[in-house]
Symmetry: C2
Amino acid sequence: MDVPAPPTRPARARATLLSLAQAAGVSISTVSRALRGDARISPATRRRIDALAAEAGYAPNALARTLLGGRSGLIGLVLGPMQNPFYPALLEELVAQAAERGLRLLLLHAGEGSMDDRTAQALLQYQVDGCLVTSAALPSRIAAICAGNDVPLVMINRVAREHGAAVCCDNAEGGARLADFLLAGGHRRFAVVGGNADTSTSLDRERGFVERLAARGVALACRFDGGATREGGWAAGERIAAMPPGERPDAVFAVGDGLAMGLIDALRAGAVPVGASVEGEGVEAAGAVSVVGFDGVAAALRPPYALTTIVQPLRAVVRRGLDLLLARMEDPAAPDELVTLRGTLHVGRSARLPAGAATGASHGDAGRETG
Amino acid sequence: MDVPAPPTRPARARATLLSLAQAAGVSISTVSRALRGDARISPATRRRIDALAAEAGYAPNALARTLLGGRSGLIGLVLGPMQNPFYPALLEELVAQAAERGLRLLLLHAGEGSMDDRTAQALLQYQVDGCLVTSAALPSRIAAICAGNDVPLVMINRVAREHGAAVCCDNAEGGARLADFLLAGGHRRFAVVGGNADTSTSLDRERGFVERLAARGVALACRFDGGATREGGWAAGERIAAMPPGERPDAVFAVGDGLAMGLIDALRAGAVPVGASVEGEGVEAAGAVSVVGFDGVAAALRPPYALTTIVQPLRAVVRRGLDLLLARMEDPAAPDELVTLRGTLHVGRSARLPAGAATGASHGDAGRETG
DNA sequence: GAATTTTGTTCAAACCTTTGCACAAGGAAA
DNA sequence: TTTCCTTGTGCAAAGGTTTGAACAAAATTC
């Protein structure tokens, strides 16, 4: 009558405190304490249990631990448009630093599209300890859920529109510094290639640049819309290359490195010399156009671009972002805080140098805090 | 004597089944069943509980649910080097499709660096249901942990070295198809710009290309090492541009779109015309070099590159990757499986056309399965 | 009106970990 | 010998959810 149960796949179940306790002949709590290094457990017992755990490949169940009311160790992550080369770099740094701090990233969103409700709910379902947003357009659902459930929210590379903590580079100051550099280089006709019109980051950079020019009595000769992609930079470069040399700007600020690289490609394809890079060593070609960017993406710093740009202190930006988040996990009532980090002017060969300056040096206090 | 407890931040605790049950005056199980749509709960009760839950913004605790022995809904994700523009695109698609299926991605690693032990342990601690690897160099710790703990592992865009399931584009076939296209275009001198020497993907593409050429009695004129970055493509392009026109190859296969774009930039900067794009509309400049790539990254398909390339069926690749993973979650004993999807030849303007062919068309069965 | 089914709800166990408290054994001090 | 302290361990509760089984009340059948 009684048919024996079918031989279910043996697949020895994953080790738990219980299985270790049975193997060691002690109680569950002893195992737990031994593994956590509690001083009350005798060295002999601890060694025995440690060996057993190592052999079984035991890993404590973070979910059960979280259930006790502690931290989940999970951080929700909302990523911006990945075409902008700054974001992949930011992502790598973020993953590395989060791991160093023992935090895990729960990837909720990447790119431009909108977020469905279920995804937003995941924030709550998985009990994330906090949320990190690098996206320019903060999904409002995420903001609402975080606000309504005491989930700390920190934005990186963008300032908070209404509230929340944020860390970003001093965009306006960087723009101004580039204006100074170009002015010192003796440039006369300035152009800007703008980014997304709805990101504070782009707007601040452009504003800082234009206002510094204005303060020196110089007006912008022309302006292009780049839309934050490399292609946008190329399109602007084509138009610049097509201008008669007399009207052509001799200095162009592209508000992101991706834009700047596309721009340089187009100028070169149009046989327009860029910065000091054609004749080399400071002797520049006649009619050369200087190009400067912003972000300090690795690919832009190296040849063939050797871009003069403001290098964002990426490590510090990420570090402070995580600091802000952890602080708000400790104290959810912490006031909104905006941290602004000053970038570094990296002098490459894409822009004519001021008299007497040397290529390759970096100026400015990297990561000095001003917020 | 008794000091009243300091007024701890009220911060009404998050809604749970218990709090809802108390509010509704029913038991916890009734609430659970009502929310899950169990037919045994009366419509009146259900409506009341639904309203209460909506008002409280209730979201079930996925961690507690997982503890019951079910699925966590978490997938561990190991990302490859983000400089290769294919990976950001893959990431966006993956995030979107995972969300559609109700899966969450736990981001374990991004980039080239190695993984620390704690991160690898996270796989077990957070009870991931499976693991997805897009990295070319599979971290061995991850592989070991997955194998030892019945965690299904699926690789995307690379074949398994020893074991495991994988989905990737038919790289060799794509390389061969490009060779055919270039041969039909009447090219004579062929070059290859190779990628990472240790990724099966790059090697297969190159092999497919070279073998097809050989089968037609043509040998490679020269070969460059690109190292999978845009800069590598640029370097190869500079060397090609510097060759005397007689020795210069008239067709170059860059094994990735990033390489191809860098290559084109360098050729243009060196005033070497590329494909049919200079004179436009099929009439090509004298001494033009045709460039073809592989991947079908959006930026490469559009102007200014208009690259002729093999477009990976990205959506299908991701879909099948998740299929494989889910299948292995159902049945961990499922045999290793390799799915190969055929790409589509996208004819742009970066390579001379065979007589009578039209630009912009796509040839080949997108995503036809062969594995 | 009693027996039976249907309907709606509750009980209790299980998942795994952490931790306050209790407990036992052994040694030292009184 | 009693009392107290130290050292090492076990007990049990808690955390939120799911689910099989039990239970009560109402509706149906004879």
